[in-house]
Amino acid sequence: MEVLNLLAGGFAIAFEPLNLALVVFGCAIGLFVGAMPGLGSVNGVAILLPMTFLVPPESAIIFLAALYYGAMYGGAISSIMLGIPGASTAVATTFDGRPLALQGKADVALISAAVASFVGGTISVVLFTLFAPPLAEIALTFGSPEIFALMVLAFATFIGLGGDDIPKTLFSIFIGLAMSAVGLDIISGQPRLIFFGLPGFYHGINFLVLAIGIYGIGEMLWTVEVSRGKMSISQATMSLRRIVDGVIGLKSSVKTMLMGSFLGYFVGILPAAGATPGSLMAYGVAKTISKDPGSFGKGNVDGVVAPEAANNAASTGAMLPMLTLGIPGSPTTAILLGGMVIWGLEPGPLLFVEHSDFVWGLIASLYAANLFALLINIAFIPAFIWVLRMPFTILAPIIFVLCIVGGYAPTQDMHDVWLMLIFGIVGYLMRKLDYPLAPAVLAIVLGPLAEPALRQSLLISNGSFAIFFERPFAGVIMVIALGLLILPVLQKIVRYARRSA
């Protein structure tokens, strides 16, 4: 019951005129960002975070969360209409969404995607409302060893589940953490890692510099290279009648939707997994449990419904560890976490005690964002299709300018703009060689929290690493983390054994 009271209070905050307007605005921008090929929620949140200094921190987070949500809806639009995923989270949506569009059923695909997103989003927000308070309560008892163990777990998921080249993933984590160590040593106060004696390094490397460098400049360089070809846009005819028919036609997909929602939510909680693998897994499961697996890939509505329900559910799932434990479940939530730290709303269990109003306002606005994203999506599908025709050579330079101005705004130091350009270019060159970059962004956000946790733990234990295994919660978390770290080795052994058998 207490949850319902808190939630009611949250709705009162979410429906304050400014917050409600920001939810609607955030959803609309998110839909746009999600629909543009090459831009996803993480790019939108990274590039627009500096712009939100205009409104109070609580409202800024609500806006960014709505944007995150909207982007999950929007990704489907270009997957279906262009056959190019608008964001990596919508890759699985192209498998059946594009064939449907080519058969002249683009409207069916778009409506299914929107409704599935809504169902996935709503179920996951309900799960979030139920899980968050008890999890935060447990986390209140955590000390530095537990916090550090959680961070190890977050990074271990990238090794065990990320599926990328392991030494490159590890390298990415280490370099991200190392960048977070630049500036003044938090404990002794001494200047540290002042490269080439440049004064700009005294204030450290702001996580936004890396995030905008990689997800803004690097991503655009990547898209400029990849999107050299011409794109063709499918036609969609929309009318109220067809919308109603489309929604009624989804009755047979209810089971798939529910499956996608739950699967997506739990996969989304894992830091390395998130919405992209969640949606791919949901697609796979939908195909396996379907009565007619042969029709997948040729325009089966269930093939659109499953990944779309899953990616929205995963985006809420990723918020759960971010808000309750302070460990982001995805690159987008990592950037949100960094933003909240700047604004003095440090995520973690204490947030639920000290800023309870804000937490419940945010949760309530997720419910609202879900509804508005659905309405805006369906009402303005023609507008989004029109926007997709916007030539990339107009959008790209504007985004570059946004990155540069946005990279300057937080610290107002040209040093950071140069650093951002270097990160963008080097990140792009590394990405071409399969270096995963998301772990570095997560690491630079978590670094300032991980280092003191590690040092304090070692101080308590007088230098012994056994402390991470002796305390019950820390021990369990560390064992899971180690399990994830050796998972790829185990897989290799199994594969080797099978081959020789």
């Binding site: 080249d165 002794s188 107002q412 703009v417 070692l458």
Partner: protein, 165 residues
């Protein structure tokens, strides 16, 4: 790809060594009653990075990783030209912010990009190149109170400050 993979591993190994050396400016060992020294955390991270680059090198040598087997070019001719033009114009834009400020560099960059890379007509190019800095001015300087760098163009803004601030 294969050569690029090797060069990147070597460059990153050098970065790791530099990081370790730089971290060692602060104590990296154990300080009684204080815990690990200020340099310890980045020092061991640098060491970890170095191990990773050796590992990447080993996988390159044994051709286990995908890119080290790929015979595809790291950059084909067109991609390289495009990268140099886009990357170069970005660098020039940021450099010229020091000189002519954001409100000088941004319209020039937009005009260059849209006209020469996008082949858009002058009306579209002009409209975007001129409206973007105006929107930026009202958003950053007026609404957010963030002064963007203006370089030599600073005096031109005095009348605007008088009106809006």
């Amino acid at each position: 790809m294969r050569r690029a993979e090797f060069v990147m591993a070597v460059v990153m190994a050098l970065v790791s060594l530099y990081l370790m050396w730089k971290s060692a400016e602060l104590p990296v060992g154990w300080i009684p009653d204080e815990g690990p020294g200020g340099g310890a955390f980045p020092f061991w991270l640098g060491a970890g990075m170095l191990v990773c680059t050796l590992w990447i090198f080993l996988r390159w040598f044994r051709r286990t990783s995908e890119v080290s087997r790929s015979s595809e070019a790291y950059f084909d001719g067109r991609a390289l030209t495009l990268f140099l033009i886009v990357g170069g114009s970005l660098t020039v834009m940021i450099g010229s912010i020091h000189l002519v400020g954001v409100y000088g560099a941004v319209p020039l960059f937009l005009a260059f990009y849209m006209r020469f890379l996008g082949r858009h007509g002058w009306p579209t190019t002009g409209a975007v190149a001129l409206s973007t800095p105006i929107v930026a001015f009202f958003f950053f300087e007026i609404a957010l109170n963030i002064t963007l760098p203006k370089g030599l163009t600073e005096p031109l803004f005095y009348p605007l400050y008088d009106i809006f601030l």
